[in-house]
Structure formats: structure tokens, C-alpha cells
Symmetry: C2
Subunit: 149 residues, 2 copies
DNA sequence: CTGACTGCAAAATCTTTGCAAAGAC
DNA sequence: GTCTTTGCAAAGATTTTGCAGTCAG
């Protein structure tokens, strides 16, 4: 796993390359995602940052703008949930897909070589230049099954 | 493939079973989805219906309410695209997944037995009671690749 | 200094809700 | 007749944008 310092360095380089500026807001958002290995909505990130840094104000617009920036740069990835918006996570880890519990909302991650392979085969069959893919298994996690009536 | 009359009959039965009423709006929406084998947003369905039946007004709220009803009943299915809302299609066909072109927005469908199998294995490994899954391959379709610079 | 970035508030989307009138059964 | 459904418009929820002031380089 990459260290935070290395990640930060890469990020600064990326900004410089594109004539963008390194700001404390951008750093705090990146840092937050580095330190919290979960999937957050923009709103949640906003709330958590407010809580962690009560003295600093970061506008929600900045959160959105930064997340878009980071996603375009490939630093973070998102998964979407219908009309209920997107959740973001740092894209450092090896590619993986998600299991989503409809009861508690928890998100689990998995990786399956066979599926990855098949996806490539399918894309090829359609002469599709695959840039990305997303896969979600929706269901009820073992925890929530216990508490089902 | 099921005939429209049969589908309609099933739908009426479903409504009756739940003490709901069969209305012309509900029928027109169902009919539209039956006759158009594509993936539509609520807005698009609204526009298209307006165009097909210029004399009939169907409020956008009714479109949303009906789509929700139909989806809950399992008559239609949806795929979601980040914050840009959902697209609906009739759920009559055999289960399938989607390829989405990021250039033209076209949606292709595929089905792969091996992937389906692996998904079950994975869900089991997590002791997950899988109720649904979604898989999207994102990329550029063969058509759009041609017109790329 | 210069141009990018920020916070704010307003605007734009997309979706849901309250309500009185209309319609199904 | 009763109870659901509808259309409308207003309200919510989420995301984007315009802008003047601020800050990084």
C-alpha cells in the first residue's frame, strides 16, 4: 500500500502538470479518503470534515469540485446508487467490485479473476473498447439476515 | 416472448391483487415500454408519450409513480447512471447485463453464464443473500471508435 | 501579480409530496 | 359511493454555477 506522503506527492505532481493549485481543502479531502477506507457520499465527507476540523470551513461546492477532480484524475473511484447519488473511495487498491447490503447499506469488496476475464471476452465480442466496468451484487449481508424476522 | 395482451392481463391481475386500479395512464406507460425495447429515463418516457398522444396529458409525477410501481412489482427493471438518474426497461426478457457507450450513450445487452455462476459463488462466500445484481461494462462502442480522431 | 480556487447563495436537476378534482370499480 | 389515482404546483434532495474575494505559485 502506498504511503500517504507518496500519494500526496503524486497528487501535487498531478496538479502541477495541469496548472492547478494545491490547496488545503484539496489536501484535507484527499487525506480524509486516505485515512478512511470506506465509501462516502459528498455530503458525508462534508459532515465528517466539519466534525474533524471544526474551525475550518469547506463549502459543499468545493467537496463536489474536488471529488470530480480526483475522479477524473483517477485518484478516486465512485460507485453509484440510482438516484441516491454516488459514493467515493480512494482508488489505490487493486481493482475490486462490490457487494451492497440493502438492509444496512454496508459495502463489501471482492475481486474475481474469472469474472474479470469474462468481461474482457464479452467486450471483445462486441468490439467494445472497455474503459471501465462496474459490478454490484445486491442483497442482504449475513449480519442482517440474522436480525430478519 | 410474451404477447402484449398477456402482459396486460398479468398487470391487471397484479393490480387487482393489491387493491390498485387499472388506469389509462398506467396502461400507456406499460404499452410504451412493451413497444420500445430500449432504456428510457422517466423524462424521456414523458416526452415520448406526449408526442405519441398529444391530446392526453400524463403528469411527470404519474410517470415516476408508475415506474416505481412497475419496478416494485418486478414488471420493469432499471439501471442507474451516477447522479444522472435511472433508465427503465421492461423486465420480460431473460436476465442480462449491459454495455454502455460513454460516447453515444447506447446500451447493449449481454448474458454470460459463467459470470452468473461466479456471482453466486461469491455471494455464498460472503454468506450474502443475493437478491439482485447489476453489472455494467463501460466503454466506447465499435461505431464510436470509428469516429474517434 | 496573475490566474486558479473558495465559500456563498442562487440556480439547475431530478424526484417526491400535498391536495383537490377525477376516475375506477 | 368509496377509495385510489391523477395533474398540478410546491417542496425536497442533490449537484452545479456565477461571482467577488482569497490564496497559491
Amino acid at each position: 500500500m502506498i504511503s500517504y506522503n507518496k500519494l500526496l506527492e503524486n497528487f501535487k505532481y498531478l496538479l502541477k502538470e495541469n496548472g492547478l493549485k494545491f490547496t488545503s481543502q484539496r489536501e484535507l479531502i484527499l487525506k480524509f479518503l486516505y485515512e478512511h477506507d470506506e465509501h462516502f457520499t459528498p455530503e458525508e465527507i462534508n459532515d465528517r470534515l466539519k466534525h474533524i476540523y471544526p474551525n475550518i470551513t469547506i463549502g459543499i461546492a468545493t467537496i463536489y469540485r474536488t471529488l470530480t477532480l480526483l475522479e477524473d484524475a483517477g485518484v478516486i473511484t465512485s460507485i453509484s446508487f440510482g438516484a441516491q447519488g454516488k459514493r467515493y473511495e480512494l482508488g489505490l487498491k487493486k481493482h475490486h467490485d462490490h457487494l451492497v447490503c440493502i438492509k444496512c447499506g454496508k459495502i463489501f469488496e471482492f475481486f474475481d479473476e474469472i469474472i474479470e476475464e469474462r468481461q474482457k471476452v464479452i467486450a471483445q465480442k462486441f468490439q467494445f473498447k472497455m474503459t471501465d466496468h462496474s459490478m454490484k451484487l445486491i442483497g442482504i449481508c449475513s449480519e442482517c439476515q440474522k436480525s430478519e424476522s
